[in-house]
């Protein structure tokens, strides 16, 4: 009986980890700059769709102010892909990325030229220096522990 209870608890825990994110709304904003850099903003999920949409609006508005020529793709995703989960985690990822010091905001930079993506990352770090401490970004090179 104890083993059965332990197994049931572990099974339900694993199921919650796997399936509950699909009931949540994750704000995902992708910016395509004319320079060829693709910037993805990832944030923790929201339990309510309107909260997610509000966050999308805030991020898009502030980024539009910086880059009017950028193409934007925004959505409230149900759940996250394995790559997105990894990007939000503290594990190394194969692309340059920036994380906020005390907030779970993660920005991933991609470009055909890796140098270009890294430059964009550094630029984002510099631009956020004037922001409040919790919104200041720290840039990490591809594969670096974060």
């Amino acid at each position: 009986m104890p083993l059965l209870v332990v197994a049931t608890t572990a099974g339900l825990t694993a199921a919650a980890i796997e399936f509950l994110p699909r009931t949540l709304y994750f704000p995902v904003v992708v910016f395509f700059a004319p320079s060829g850099v693709e910037t993805t903003f990832l944030q923790p999920g929201q339990t309510m769709e309107h909260d997610c949409e509000h966050m999308l609006g805030e991020v898009t508005k502030s980024l539009r102010a910086v880059c009017r020529a950028c193409k934007v793709l925004q959505r409230c995703a149900h759940g996250l892909s394995a790559a997105q989960r990894r990007a939000l985690s503290h594990e190394p990822i194969p692309r340059p990325s920036a994380r906020a010091a005390n907030a779970p905001l993660t920005v991933v930079f991609a470009a055909t030229d890796p140098g270009l993506a890294m430059n964009a990352c550094r630029q984002a770090e510099q631009m956020s220096a004037s922001q409040p401490a919790e919104l200041r970004l720290r840039c990490f090179t591809a594969g670096a522990p974060r």
Binding site: M1, P2, T9, A10, T13, I17, L24, P44, G45, R85
Partner: protein, 231 residues
């Protein structure tokens, strides 16, 4: 004089209706708290959607899941119980029993502490022990379970051979586990009040069982109330 068919039917409906009325509120009440726990778990997972490979977060979620299992067990226990053969007609034992039970839910209204792997691990262990003991006690008890101090059948086998109230012990262990997720003076107060009413509840329950079952006094002599050899 034999009762008319309509009278018999009315008596039966009144009996069954009362029984359903006594069961449904507490089951719905329990399910409401279950729903709150699911919502809280969703919010927790929303804030940390990447924890799949983080063992400490797995433990935190396991502690929450164990709390939900405990709530499901509570709801199931109330659904499965038999109708009593005798119960108190005064309000004091009923109020004592209800307070002892409802205070459990008050614990879940206290603000939860920040997730902490060590506390959550201890919480999960206590909840696993409490839930296991609860299932074992219910299997022994079959359907002689009740919220109010009522006599159904006397069970003295399995866990009940050594402890007279293993279900209360299970409940208290699980509740201690839940309290560790909250870790505040409010949680400590709720726990203390619950323990007080739980002891009073046992007093009332033993009173009615002694009155209904003559062999209960002998059973009391050869068994412990809650913890073998200690109490």
């Amino acid at each position: 004089m034999p009762k008319a068919g309509a009278d018999v039917l009315r008596e039966r409906l009144e009996g069954a209706g009362y029984d359903v009325l006594m069961r449904l509120p507490i089951v719905l009440f329990t399910l409401f708290f279950f729903y709150r726990e699911v919502f809280a778990l969703r919010a927790l997972i929303a804030s940390r959607p990447y924890f799949g490979d983080e063992w400490h977060f797995f433990i935190t979620v396991a502690a929450r899941i164990s709390t939900m299992i405990f709530l499901v067990l509570l709801a199931a226990l109330h659904l499965l119980r038999r109708r009593p053969v005798r119960k108190y007609t005064t309000w004091r034992p009923k109020i004592t029993a209800l307070t002892g039970l409802l205070i459990i839910y008050a614990l879940m209204l206290v603000p939860r502490a920040e997730a902490d792997a060590r506390w959550d691990a201890l919480s999960a262990i206590l909840l696993l022990a409490g839930n296991t003991l609860c299932i074992l006690a219910v299997l022994d008890l079959a359907r002689s379970l009740s919220i109010m101090p009522e006599a159904r059948t006397l069970v003295t086998t399995g866990l009940y051979a050594r402890i007279r109230h293993p279900l209360y012990l299970a409940e208290d262990i699980a509740l201690l586990g839940i309290a560790l997720q909250f870790r505040s003076w409010q949680a400590a107060v709720v726990l203390a009040v619950h323990f007080y009413f739980q002891i009073r509840r046992m007093d009332w329950e033993e009173g009615i069982l002694t009155a209904v079952f003559p062999e209960y006094a002998e059973y009391q002599r050869r068994s412990s109330r809650l913890v073998p050899g200690l109490y």
